[in-house]
Amino acid sequence: MEAAEDWLVESLRLYQDFHAFDLSGATRVLEWIGDKGVFVAEYENLKKNEILHLILPLRLSVKENQGLFPERDFKVCHGGFSDTSVFDLKHVPDTRLLVTTGLPGSYLHVWQITEDSDVIQAVSTIAVQEKEDSLWPRVAIFSSTTPGVLHGVRLSSLRVVDLESQKTTYTSGVSDSEELSSLQVLDTNTFAFCCASGRLGLVDIRQKWAPSENVSNGRGGPGTAGGRWCAEVGGKVRSPGPSVAILGSNGQLCLLDPRDLCHPVSSVQCLVSAPSPDPELLRVTWAPGLDNCLAISGFDGMVQVYDTTSWDGMGSQVEPLFTHRGHIFLEGNQTDTTPLVTTHTWHPHKPRTLLSAASDASLHVWDWVDMHASS
């Protein structure tokens, strides 16, 4: 009680806005639809897991006269039930369709947000080529007039399936059995993959498999340090420089330039007290509204924001620009174990607003105050 109240007073100067919600079940998904809606989904075994389409509180969406809007609640706009656990969800842009993946990993599920009611309905499934017991396929969407679903468990099973016809339009065609940890579509023809080992590549689907990678001949890359890795390629329209961030379960973070992946621009050690207890939850995201800023989570109950502007060299320890500790201090269910942040995401256009979710089913929306900014 005391600690929570102390933190609340602290929070007055740390955050502009702060909202805390209790979902009925923890989520590993925070996927935007437009700039006013997000999807969350439960991931438990042996139960009906909810998939929810939530509309942001009005207070967070209005641009002017915020003070006149007392609405602070999320609205459940649509909901559906999944028999399998949902580990990731992708919205197919410009459609009412969603694709989910999780365990068991033999199928991807396609859903539709119904128009005249509030139900999210299952419409079809996409069979996964290689079925594995404990691995689940990563998913990314090629959006176009005929959307394609990029998915795979390993590099060898990577393929793109046309959503409507269910025909395979692309396969990696390699026999490499390295396990994937993330997939990201960059534009109509390219995607990035990151393997659990830290091997990262950028692929052009118009060509036969010839990605530019951060390893050569199977050697090099951050994977030599061990651990499990994930990555994100930043939007980077404004300034040149490193736009690929690759995060390891031991807290190491490498920044790479897409033009020369083999030679990292910088490699730092983030301020984490212990390696991630569940490396599948590792997440690194670039801020869409702040230059050179990124956020990491998946090590503990915190989300850390870093400014990478002055990073150079290898191996230096870095301090976060901001640390969100809300999930630790505002424990919803009063359990003994501290919650673990399962995922986080940046608001599409409010520069310092993030959403984060934790294993205790809490969901926070926070807008942190930049102490270093000259006002």
């Binding site: 919600f21 009906k48 007392p70 602070r72 609640d73 999320f74 609205k75 509030d118």
Partner: protein, 600 residues
């Protein structure tokens, strides 16, 4: 009539006017009688013509129940009882009875004085209406008549808010009114036992929301106050005398020291008196069990909060003032507002809904120039903040309450069915109950199967068991006995015991039938022939030839006699008791067919 019927009344789907009609086992109850604040005409009242088109409401309704003092639950009560016409009992909790008339009078003043409404209920009508009120205590079973009983449960939300259980025999309905499942600082949270009603009726308004935590709402309030005070501004918080003010005072008091703030906090004098009144209501309303559910402290004694004097409003420097009335429509809060509105460092925080026509409503709509009396224009430069502190249950809260009460079915009012399909599925799935969502004016009929408990006598039970057949859980067992109904008590006993208890003698009914047969032989030979015939035909029955010449089949007696006039005809007298009717009839028709021509 084993069914329960529910009809939410009124037009419009949005929150604003709660009024639900329930018919349970022949009793008719009206739940709440709210006003829709958004309309200025008849649309603000529920449509009472649904109740009965011709008859008198007093004759039709057994009682009216009001859940709490918010106007969207009781605002139409004086109109209903005095202008439409109802003289029966109106049930509500003690605090609700104390606070309702104050709110109704306030509202009446605004409507008539500020908005110039003509056809509105008068002060006298409010008084007359309140005379019909019967106040109830929490968890007290109240007999409305010898069949209908009601019981109030703690709902949190506001002082005096209750959830009501309505019971007739073994059928019951629980109506939640407004409630919250996460505790408030001074009111705690709703609680109900596993009463397993046939139906739970609740609002759907917040069912599709996920509420921001209490902590974050409070944080926002503290942040705003802090910011204003830090820049030297004055903060005005208009409050209704009873309720929200306490909550906010506790909040500020708790954090003032932690935040190391020196600015004074004032409570206007009118509020202090009312706070004492509020405290008394509060202490008698809640009980030990409820008070244990929230922070223990004397929330009516404050260290940092002092009594306000109107002269202080002109003091330099920052300060925070709580003043009435809550919608800035008159009195001290409006006076202070006028003094402080012109300075952009100052702030006004509106903690609740403001009725149309009040200054509060205008500034919350974004108006920055207000026309006051005497054509004076007031420019509002101060910061206007609208905050919502009312405690409501959300999707999660509803699931918690359903889990506590364990109803057979759930009914959600005031929502669009299409927009709540997911919630319906969720409730049906999680609790395996039916979920109904009627539109306003639509009636939902729930079939119920009321169970009638019947006591069975030990003797009867033993006799049944002695028959030796093992009971089969899947098949119903046929039991013969006598049902005695006395004083709503049902007992099943053996016939002998019933006769004994009632002091009656058992009558034996015996039927005798004459069958005429052509047979010149003697009666004795006839009897033998009858015996042989029946013995061969009725292999499953006990057929005997008695020494006196009569034949018995089980307990049926057949005697042969000569016809008095015709020696060629013999008469068979077949006689049986009422219990052997079937066999007796069968035997008679068999014998009428005649005897075979075989030799004896």
């Amino acid at each position: 009539m084993p069914e329960i019927r529910v009809t939410p009344l009124g037009a419009g789907q949005d929150v604003g006017r709660s009024c639900i009609l329930v018919s349970i086992a022949g009793k008719n109850v009206m739940l709440d009688c709210g006003m829709h604040m958004g309309f200025n005409d008849d649309r603000r009242f529920p449509d009472f013509s649904y109740i009965t088109r011709n008859g008198r409401l007093t004759d039709f309704l057994d009682c009216v129940i009001i859940s709490h003092f918010h106007l969207d639950h009781c605002g139409a009560l004086p109109y209903f009882s005095e202008m439409v016409g109802y003289d029966g009992p109106i049930y509500m909790t003690h605090p609700t009875q104390a606070i309702c008339p104050i709110l109704l009078e306030d509202y009446r003043k605004i409507a008539v004085d500020k908005k110039g409404e003509a056809n509105f209920f008068t002060s006298q009508m409010i008084k007359d209406c309140m005379k019909k009120v019967v106040a109830v205590h929490l968890h007290q079973t109240v007999q409305v008549d010898d069949e209908l009983e009601i019981k109030a449960y703690y709902a949190g939300h506001v002082l005096g808010a209750a959830m009501f259980q309505i019971k007739v025999g073994s059928e019951s309905v629980v109506y939640t009114g407004d409630y919250n499942m996460t505790p408030d600082r001074h009111l705690g949270a709703a609680w109900i036992d596993k009463c397993r009603p046939n139906l739970l009726i609740t609002e759907s308004t917040y069912a599709t929301t996920i509420r921001d935590s209490k902590r974050c709402r409070e944080r926002d309030f503290l942040k705003k106050v802090h910011e204003a005070v830090e820049r030297g501004g004055k903060v005005l918080i208009p409050v209704f005398a009873l309720g929200r003010a306490q909550e906010l005072c506790i909040l500020l008091e708790t954090f003032w020291e932690r935040m190391n703030l020196k600015a004074p906090i004032y409570f206007s004098t009118g509020l202090t008196e009312k706070a004492n009144h509020y405290y008394k209501l509060f202490i008698t309303w809640t009980n030990q069990k409820i008070r244990k559910t929230f922070v223990q402290r004397n929330m009516f004694e404050f260290k940092h909060i002092k009594a306000f004097d109107r002269a202080f409003a002109d003091n330099p420097g920052p300060m925070v003032v709580f003043a009435t009335p809550g919608m800035l429509h008159a009195g001290q809060s409006l006076q202070i507002f006028r003094k402080w509105a012109g300075n952009e460092k100052n702030m006004v925080i509106m903690p609740g809904y403001c009725v149309q026509g009040t200054v509060g409503h205008k500034i919350l709509s974004g108006q920055r120039k207000l026309e006051m009396e005497g054509r004076q224009v007031l420019e509002v430069k101060m910061q206007v903040e609208y905050m919502s502190f009312s405690a409501h249950a959300d999707a999660k809260g509803i699931m918690q309450l359903v889990g506590q009460a364990e109803p057979e079915s759930v009914l959600l009012v005031h929502g669009e069915a299409k927009k709540m399909e997911f919630l319906k599925q969720k409730i049906e799935q999680e609790f395996r109950v039916n979920c109904y969502m009627p539109a306003n004016g639509e009636t939902v009929t729930l079939p119920t199967s009321p169970s009638i408990p019947v006591g069975i006598s030990l003797g009867l039970l033993k006799r049944e068991m002695a028959q030796g057949l093992l009971p089969d859980v899947k098949k119903p067992r046929l039991l013969h006995g006598t049902l005695i109904m006395k004083d709503s008590n049902f007992r099943l006993v053996s016939s002998e015991q019933a006769l004994k208890e009632l002091g009656l003698a058992e009558h034996q009914l015996r039927f005798t039938c004459r069958v005429h047969l052509h047979d010149p032989r003697k009666e004795q030979e006839m009897a033998v022939r009858v015996y042989s015939h029946l013995k061969s035909v009725l292999k499953d029955h006990c057929v005997q030839h008695l020494p006196d010449g009569s034949v018995t089949v089980e307990s049926i007696l057949i005697q042969a006699a000569a016809h008095s006039e015709d020696p060629g005809t013999k008469v068979l007298l077949v006689s049986w008791t009422y219990q052997d009717e079937e066999l007796g009839s069968y035997l008679t028709s068999l014998l009428k067919k005649g005897l075979p021509q075989a030799s004896s």
